[in-house]
Amino acid sequence: MSLNNLDMLYRQVIMDHYKNPKNKGTIDGDALTIDMNNPTCGDRIQLQLQVKDGVVEDAKFTGDGCSISMSSASMMTQAIKGKSISEALHMSESFSNMMLGEDEHFDDDIQALQGVSKFPARIKCATLAWKALEKAVKS
């Protein structure tokens, strides 16, 4: 594999999110707060959700981690805003399937993470934010 093959992983849109993350920060006022880390590598994320009438009105995150975990968090918060909880969970399921190499399609930037499925060691980086979302919903 030459470095060119890495372009499958590090798509420009991913690096854009890494460099200029969306929804990075904290929510003022009442919010559902979930901390999640990846014990094998030390990546950590704090996800905050504001849910009203079953709809995600706002989503923000803070954290520290690699380009894949942080860009994934940025994309996810962007995608779930305005969605119902069940829609968000459905997306989470689709995302997990995509990481397993299944044919899933996202209409937004998230699609760029499809290449991660070819790098098994990095799948957990991409799913960290989604795991936090699932944990938040369960609580």
Binding site: M1, S2, L6, Q12, T40, G42, S67, F119
Partner: protein
Amino acid sequence: MDVAAIRQLFPALHQEVNGNPLVYLDSSATSQKPQQVIDAVKNYYEHDNSNVHRGVHTLGNRATEAYEGAREKVRRFIHAKSAAEIIFTRGTTTSINTVAYSYARANLQAGDEIVITPMEHHSNLIPWQQAAKATGAELKYIPLQDDGTISLADAKATITENTKIVAVTHVSNVLGTINPVKEITKFAHEQGAVMLVDGAQGAPHMKVDVQEIDCDFYAFSGHKMLGPTGIGVLYGKRDLLENMEPVEFGGEMIDFVNLYDSTWKELPWKFEGGTPIIAGAIGLGAAIDFLNDIGMDEVHQYEEKLVHYAIDKLQTVEGITIYGPKERAGLVTFNLEDVHPHDAATVLDAEGIAVRAGHHCAQPLMKELGVNATARASFYLYNTLEDVDKLTEGLLKTKEYFGNVFK
């Protein structure tokens, strides 16, 4: 030391990874195995496979001789007084837990202290956290200095008359720091405490003389020193081990069993409940033979040369931060500016270079260093200066790659 010839003896080193020749720089996680070790395990299963210490039959005798022969090899390797002081375990973690369960819980109470350092691997940290919680003892840390070492003055000041156990790593798996375990043992003994040395990164890379260190316990793993996974060693001074209760009860470790009470075998078998790790011990014995043929002082000097070369070379990479002291064992932990270590490790892997990225099972130390993760290149006797050159080139490419994707 003829490294080219040594490399020939390690089959796993001769392969391509992602289209490039493998450069294996993760020996602190686990070492590669020479053919001799693989053959010893294979030979046992093909010819001598049998349970130990019970068969009257020929294979049982062969297996017992090989297993106990390995114990004697370990005894000589670390210069223990008696083979009764060599307990085979699953690895360093099990060795330390054995002391934390058997010795610590029986001998500690509220008001007592356990002293460790912030550079401990989780395996020499969490067993003591748990022992402290279970007994009411206090866990104390010898502070870490800015250069990644601990000072003798701090060690002396931290260990008090209330200290009952001191547990310190021989070599830091992150910083490469070689700790003055002999001097710290002296401080421990002056205060009536016992000293445990975590030798997971020590025994594979340098000559170890437990009688010279005078430590009470020394723990290490086979798989980091060319041996198989699943085998490790707990060395303990005989008089201490004699007075300790076993942690696991069952077959192999008993003397007499009555309906309501039993007695234990003598050392070291009272600590080896169940069918032991026979093939693993035999493989470890073969690994020790291999290391002895080269000589541990040779191994240590060669790794020193490698690590000095690596530090000089890596420092030429702009934006690199190297953690730890100048004088160190054969590993370099670093970070590249603006590139997360996982991303660096992925790019290096694409070049066939295997390094570790993450917290290296030392989260409190990462906090002290002010980072969440680092990358680590660790060396062993089969690595070459050329491997270091490839790592350096790989890091330059990593910077270039991320420089480009960021544009």
